[in-house]
Symmetry: C2
DNA sequence: TTCACATTGCTAAATTTTTCACAATTAAAA
DNA sequence: TTTTAATTGTGAAAAATTTAGCAATGTGAA
């Protein structure tokens, strides 16, 4: 299902709604109100309703939204029906953390390969994900039709890795190194830097603290 | 230095500007143009100039911005002059990754303690950060005036950990678990979920792919 | 010294995102 | 059956964020 021009932020929240709903799933509770979802995610109920409106989902006026239906619909919108395969490049602490976070998280995304240069790691399997040498990256990506790459190598290596991934035909990249990358426009790039998050927390914690003093 | 009502997004970008500038720092290059910063971070030059305007920094009309001066000014705005101390709770792969990311990243933020329940980890030092048992958390946080907590425990534990941290007097929290938390308004909470990032990449990669097909 | 021109700084406009406000609706209670 | 009360859905307003457009300026070249 394709809905044209879904706002960036809405896409992000849809993923969060689904995650939160999957966590609250139970036999007794089949429906959820907008204000319940809102409370879980620290946003407003209107925003939830607006997002659901954008994806054309209607709730029941007195019972709220059908949890199972909603989860399914979000899947139809944000997941690719064929599924998408993911590779993690760099199997250090972060790479391993990502893989174990992912374990058991159903979803149409599956991490099916990891790459590293450390011989101790190569040809071993981590949480169900086999690790290969980086030299094999292009081949394995092409063979397995992997379309998404997660970069968790040391930042000095990041640009070269990114280039190789792009040449291997990757369609989306998630860069966890602090090194800003450059990719062609047909590759979607998302960068996340922990330091920035932490500095943001530090800044607003400080500000908050002054305000509540 | 305090500038009232600095936009949320600007704070985030200031941190990124600093990081990017620290990476380009060299003897030969003392100045940088707005379009150079912009290119590194995939944003527009106008946006860079606007942000710098908000913090009251003036560049040189033909040479651009003085890199050293700018780094220093950003520090004056987003850092706390006394510095802020940080604790990592949960020393699994993610906790270790965070600590090692942080190593050597100067800055007024310092990770000075880690907490876990695994006896093998307790009383050991990881990348310069000592690990204590979670039972000691409140004491150590108070003694060392730690104001920021990073939560990297399994998501089931997160709410309890958050509560303890809040009671210990923490001012800001960075939650890496997919479990949404609740904290009082005087605590700044930032949540980051890798799965959401990855799903976003997947969604826009798919969309991009259709567009460029 | 004068000129050319790339860049900054900034106002105003545009766009995106969030919130308000309230009519419509319907499940459950009376 | 009627009433009540809580919730949805949404147009319109507000707020936040980004971008356009351009005058002003200062550097280096002529």
């Amino acid at each position: 299902m394709i809905i044209k021009n879904l706002p960036h932020k809405t896409v992000e929240r849809l993923s969060q709604y689904r995650r939160a709903l999957l966590m609250t799933l139970s036999k007794e509770k089949t429906h959820v109100f907008s204000h319940e979802i809102a409370q879980m995610l620290h946003i407003t109920p209107v925003q939830v309703r607006r997002d659901l409106m954008l994806i054309g989902y209607s709730g029941n006026l007195r019972k709220g939204y059908d949890i199972k239906e909603l989860i399914e619909l979000i899947g139809k919108i944000i997941d690719s029906d064929k599924g998408q395969r993911v590779a993690v490049v760099g199997l250090g602490n972060l790479g391993k953390a990502i893989i174990s976070y992912f374990k058991g998280k159903r979803s149409k995304l599956s991490i099916i390969a990891a790459f590293d240069i450390n011989p101790d790691k190569i040809n071993r399997v981590y949480d169900g994900v086999p690790c290969y040498h980086i030299d094999q990256m292009t081949d394995i990506i092409k063979q397995n039709n992997i379309s998404i790459g997660i970069i968790s190598v040391p930042s000095t290596e990041a640009p070269e890795i990114a280039e190789t991934l792009v040449l291997s035909g990757i369609k989306g990249l998630l860069n966890f190194t602090p090194k800003p990358l450059n990719v062609p426009p047909y590759v979607y790039l998302e960068e996340y830097d922990m330091i920035t998050s932490l500095e943001k927390v530090a800044f607003f914690a400080k500000k908050n603290d002054e305000r509540f003093k």
